[in-house]
Symmetry: C2
């Protein structure tokens, strides 16, 4: 990338604008700052210390839970301690779905033997009958395959067992290729006459930890329970089914949907010195699933946003435009925080970019930039990020929390990271602080700081 830059500036004297001619000096200045920021981020270990504190203070932070409420307070206090220019909450009503104490499934053999499978209810699911439900299992790999099963699906537990494609380089692409089973499995199961959906966990790893996640219902279709089974459990069940005899499964879990609860997005900002009304949002979501500690998903994105502002402040960098850290509430099961943030009237303000970190606290590789004009403009700063290998600026990007800002034409962006370990932890009991590497997390925070600062200085 550097070589490309040298070439174009050498050849382009007569065609390029004066702004571009001064770019090598600006690039060098930003790189100098970036080196200081990376050094401080790694040396201080502040992002990791914050994340450890958050995770151990709150446990999980599922929307409407006491952990989420503690998380809101934690984030506000942390940013107040750090003396950001302004720190505040924006209240938002969130759904309150509650998992019951028992989640169990057994293969019932004709001999009377029972074999346990590790399952967990999917978020938003109704519970099974109190005594559980027992039915034969039909295994399919797709909705199309389920349609072909026809009337034989009636009264059955529909077992969706299409794995994430481990051969894909990008694990999010593999996730995208399998997750419709989780999101719409219960709907499709009910449409086919099934009594429940059991979905293979969304991970490329084989282990015994089930992965929860969101699922939906539609008004016109009966609501049947949906659960995830661990990948080892899925393999085992498939093996038993392969013997060709009918296989009966017993599943039992309770869930409740309670009235909405008031919660909040948490915001803190460094006010722009020249154009305070032009705002760059950086952030992630404060809520998590009700598993583990939401360390990667998305405690990491939250502490990186706070750390990014801390880093800028530490070096006395006062951005021309406002950089605002937003910790959104309820990304996982409602997106209420993201919607409320975008819908709120903000007189005198214009968002010029929104940058989300919600792919886990892993080694940053660069940024995804959803807007082609913004991508073209920002590409010139990629060399600033080369020394710490975070210079891949790809066209295409965004994030769930910031997606409602798209309607206002705000360019959406996100931190790109190494994705290989994300689905080892995603939505499971294992998404804990121990699964986060402190250096990887810190580098992501540094990347967010530098990227948002350049946009705040240069505009878009």
């Amino acid at each position: 990338m550097r070589k490309f830059l040298l070439l174009t500036t050498a050849l382009g004297l007569f065609t390029f604008s004066s702004r571009l001619l001064s770019q090598p000096a600006q690039t060098a200045r930003y790189e100098g700052l970036a080196r200081q920021i990376v050094k401080e981020a790694l040396g201080s270990n502040s992002a990791y210390e914050m994340l450890r504190d958050l995770c151990t203070t709150t446990g999980h932070r599922f929307s409407g839970s006491s952990g989420a409420a503690k998380g809101v307070e934690w984030a506000r206090q942390k940013m107040e301690e750090l003396e950001f220019d302004r720190v505040w909450l924006e209240p938002v009503m969130v759904p309150r779905w509650v998992r019951g104490p028992v989640e169990e499934a057994f293969i019932l053999y004709p001999s009377g033997k029972k074999e346990q499978l590790n399952i967990t209810a999917l978020g938003g699911s109704v519970g099974t009958p109190k005594e559980g439900l027992t039915a034969e299992v039909v295994e399919v790999r797709s909705f199309e395959e389920l349609h072909k099963v026809g009337s034989k699906a009636k009264g059955k537990i529909i077992f969706f067992n299409r794995p994430m494609d481990r051969s894909l380089f990008n694990t999010f692409e593999a996730y995208g290729g399998a997750v419709n089973q989780r999101g719409a499995g219960a709907i499709e199961a009910a449409k086919a006459g099934g009594v429940a959906a059991l979905v293979r966990s969304m991970t490329t790893r084989l282990n015994d930890s089930p992965h929860t996640g969101g699922m939906g219902y539609v008004d016109t279709i009966p609501e049947v329970p949906g659960a995830a089974v661990s990948t080892l459990g899925a393999e085992r069940l498939s093996e038993v089914l392969a013997e060709g005899k009918p296989v009966r499964l017993h599943m039992r879990f309770s869930t409740q949907t309670l009235p909405d609860v008031e919660s909040a997005n948490v915001l803190g900002e460094l006010r722009g010195t020249e154009m305070p009304g032009e705002v760059i949002v950086i952030g992630g979501h404060l809520d998590s699933w009700d598993k583990g500690q939401g360390a990667h998903d998305d405690g990491s994105g939250c502490v990186q946003a706070i750390e990014a502002l801390r880093l800028l402040k530490k070096f006395g960098l006062k951005p021309k435009r406002t950089i605002r850290a937003v910790m959104f509430m309820n990304e996982e099961n409602g997106l209420r925080g993201g919607i409320a943030y975008a819908e709120k009237e903000r007189p005198g303000e214009r968002h010029i970019a929104a940058i989300e970190s919600d792919m886990g606290g892993f080694t940053p590789h660069g940024f995804g930039i959803g807007d082609s004009t913004a991508h073209a403009k920002l590409l010139r700063w990629a060399p600033v990020f080369s020394f710490f290998a975070a210079d891949r600026f790809q066209l295409g990007g965004g994030g769930a929390d910031i997606s409602p800002l798209a309607r206002q034409g705000v360019p959406l962006m996100n931190l790109l990271v190494d994705t290989h370990r994300y689905f080892d932890y995603h939505h499971t009991d294992n998404d804990r602080i121990e699964a986060v590497n402190e250096r990887e997390l810190a580098l992501g925070a540094a990347a967010m700081a530098i990227f948002s600062y350049i946009i705040a200085e240069e505009g878009l």
Copy 2:
């Protein structure tokens, strides 16, 4: 990088050679192969399955141990199963140093209270007297500081407590800045009149796991024991010393240096179809320290070399030049395998490149290339590696095992990986298969396969 390429080929029609003009087509061909190879590496999970098998078969593989002997046999059998064109052993005599069953250290308080510190003998160290040694502790951060201590160092345990600089982006650079304390601490301690060296473990993490590693003696200086203390232990000892009162420490461990043992390098190759006498070595070291399972260091490099050949064979790729997987013995405490490999007469053969993987089984970022001519020639193929983010081709590279080949003018290279987690595990009980991510390991193997194949096809 792609853009640079397009520009130069567009502009360079009259100045560049015809070979370069045909490069886009060649690049596209290699990228097509690379995509298949990456898909197979990830999809099959073969490298990880091999590494799990190696680690559980051998435990650690310290030179001269039964684990090392099992490792030699495992590697030979594995490559024979895979039906490489030729598989063989090259015997080499290796040193045999043996750690004793007890390794202990206590801070002795005037009250009679004892506080345990976690230590481990450094590789090659003499033992303490049988009953242990007890002495006051002097803490220093450098050899220079020790020199200034002067006669007060006499009779003391010299505690070398300079941490690896966590603020550096490259952890190997941080290691390089601290490891002289481990390598030469016992020599410097003895020169100063000290009775032992206690060295802060080589990691940026704070935990209670001591890291072993190599240390040396010189003939003219008395041999005093050397041990590593965990970083938490080092912090604690430093804290107690900071109170300003004399601190007495008791250390006890036994070690033995036994006669050399016969072991072997393990080799397997795909014979070149056109220039079989031109050899590209790919590999890592089969031995490990006597801790954990040597999963990252360097079981990963070994299985990646085997997997690279398997991947090429799987797709029927018959390289023009020979690609040889070499699993070197005794990198950790003698380099006998690397030296023996380089010194062996090989009539009719010429090594054109040697590529080591010995930075752990982490996400590959590209290659370090020690020879500037080779770097310049190989840079044009970097775009082949872009789709899986392994296209950083840096000038500067090599590896301990292949370093003796430098005298023959062989260009030395190595797989570059994400370095952030390496020193969490390096030379400790924690370097086990569980610490390796299967996808990261597989991608490294794929990178080695593609890179070595391109060199075998294109020459250097």
